[in-house]
């Protein structure tokens, strides 16, 4: 088809369930989603206009947040719908081939790696756990104005109150770090892999609480409930953190390779790989 190129969302094993999952599904730009199979792996694909996805226009579009959001949501929508039915390896946004021939070629070339990762991820889901430090948890020592500080010179009173503030803040941080560790331990008991994402910070974080950890766990589907209640309990009332749980996600954070695998598991942040490797060894 001239004027269009093939956008690949993810890779899965071919099956009637996969065909079902894409039936009627719409992807980027509202285009119908289809399956391109080669051997025993299959790609989830749709046509996108070459005018938007050739190198230059693509680079230009990526500057446009609205465009980026639309494509990201469409990409995720397809992955999400497919993951509801079958195990899928999500590809990074905007993986594009000139035509289905190119898609088949990459499926053939990467077949073994895709298969082994699919087998590993089968029956697992990803849960996101973000922990926020509750500002209320910061013990707010008696503010200045006590009898004692009135005896101090203004300078000393100031320094003293500063140091008290600092101590309180340190304590709050330490308490939050402890809580993060406890939640992580509770979560790990039910997870087979773990990846630490960067904390989300800045104005988008609603409210006043600070995101202190942002983790993804790969959890056997059957243990999701146990996982969730463990996390909720560990971050429950009386702890200085609040948990925000998202998911279940398709295994985005675990698609890129088994811990210790040679491929770029987490090229961007090396600590993840080590972490993942350790998690895998964690007792169940």
């Amino acid at each position: 088809m001239t004027g269009s190129v093939s956008y690949v969302y993810g890779v899965a094993g071919p099956s009637p369930a996969l065909d079902d999952a894409v039936r009627g599904l719409r992807g980027v730009d509202g285009a119908p989603v289809r399956v391109v199979a080669a051997g025993d792996v299959a790609a989830v694909v749709s046509d996108v206009p070459a005018a938007d996805f050739e190198e230059r226009p693509l680079a230009a579009h990526l500057e446009d947040l609205d465009w980026l959001e639309a494509v990201a949501r469409a990409h995720h929508g397809v992955i999400d719908a497919v993951a509801a039915r079958v195990t899928v390896l999500p590809l990074r946004l905007a993986t594009i081939y000139r035509d289905d021939q190119g898609v088949r070629a990459v499926l053939t070339a990467g077949g073994a790696a895709f298969r082994s990762r699919l087998a590993r991820l089968a029956g697992h889901v990803e849960w996101g756990v973000k922990l926020y430090a509750e500002p209320a948890a910061a013990p707010d020592g008696p503010p200045g104005g006590s009898g004692e500080s009135s005896r101090l010179s203004p300078g000393r009173a100031y320094l003293r109150s500063r140091s008290r503030e600092r101590t309180a803040r340190d304590e709050a941080h330490r308490a939050a770090a402890d809580a993060v560790r406890r939640v992580h331990e509770a979560a790990s008991a039910h997870a087979v892999e773990h990846v630490r994402h960067r904390v989300q910070q800045g104005p988008l974080v609603r409210g006043t609480s600070e995101n202190v950890s942002n983790d993804a766990y790969l959890v056997p589907s059957g243990r999701s409930d146990a996982f969730l209640s463990a996390v909720r309990e560990a971050a429950g009332a009386g702890t200085p953190v609040r948990a925000e749980i998202t998911g279940p996600w398709a295994p985005y954070s675990f698609a890129a390779g088994a811990p210790g695998a040679e491929d770029r598991a987490d090229g961007a942040d090396g600590e993840n790989r080590a972490d993942g490797a350790r998690e895998e060894a964690a007792p169940g």
Binding site: A59, L65, A84, P90, R92, V106, A235, A256
Partner: protein, 176 residues
């Protein structure tokens, strides 16, 4: 404890979705984090320059922190980044900026020697500009660069260069 997945009836009408419900309601930051930063990377026929991807990823980390507010904060890199946009070249040249900075240093030195002679009362302009810098910092904790840059006295609106893309922002408001 809030759990967004409790309101996660996504856009997929299929009853197959009870367990996969993120759908369109998922937080954009969470989605971008995953579709851009995670997922398998395989070479497509159409390549985004790898450097561009890295750049984009770095910038998106900022963005993930602040998608809604980024524009308000002036982190509008997608509009002004010379490496991404052709119309970002209207900024004054670096040498021009250097010249201004040198003038400013000279002016400050002059003020300082006056200060030594008499009690500090009329605070030199530098301090006033320091306030501006602080406001800038409060407005968005994202940046390091901004703090350093804010005291720059500028007669004309400036566009930032790619090097401090993270800190890009409108020029200091004041300049009486």
């Amino acid at each position: 404890m809030t759990e967004p997945h409790s309101d996660n009836l996504g856009s997929f009408p299929s009853r197959a979705a009870p367990s996969y419900g993120q759908g369109s309601s998922a937080n954009l930051a969470d989605i971008l984090e995953r579709v851009l930063d995670k997922g398998i990377v395989i070479a497509g026929d159409i390549q985004i320059n790898l450097l561009d991807i890295e750049l984009l990823t770095i910038k998106l980390r900022l963005l993930v922190a602040s998608v809604d507010k980024a524009k308000e904060m002036g982190i509008d890199w997608w509009e002004h980044d010379p490496s991404l946009s052709s119309r970002a070249d209207s900024r004054p040249s670096l040498s021009e900026e250097n010249r201004r900075l040198r003038e400013e240093i000279a002016a400050l030195r002059g003020t300082r020697s006056l200060d030594r002679a008499e009690p500090v009362d009329d605070v030199p302009r530098g301090a006033a500009r320091g306030e501006v810098a602080r406001e800038d910092v409060v407005a968005g904790e994202v940046t390091e660069g901004r703090r350093r840059r804010a005291p720059t006295r500028s007669g004309t609106p400036r566009r930032r260069t790619a090097e401090d893309g993270t800190a890009r922002r409108r020029p200091p408001e004041d300049d009486r």
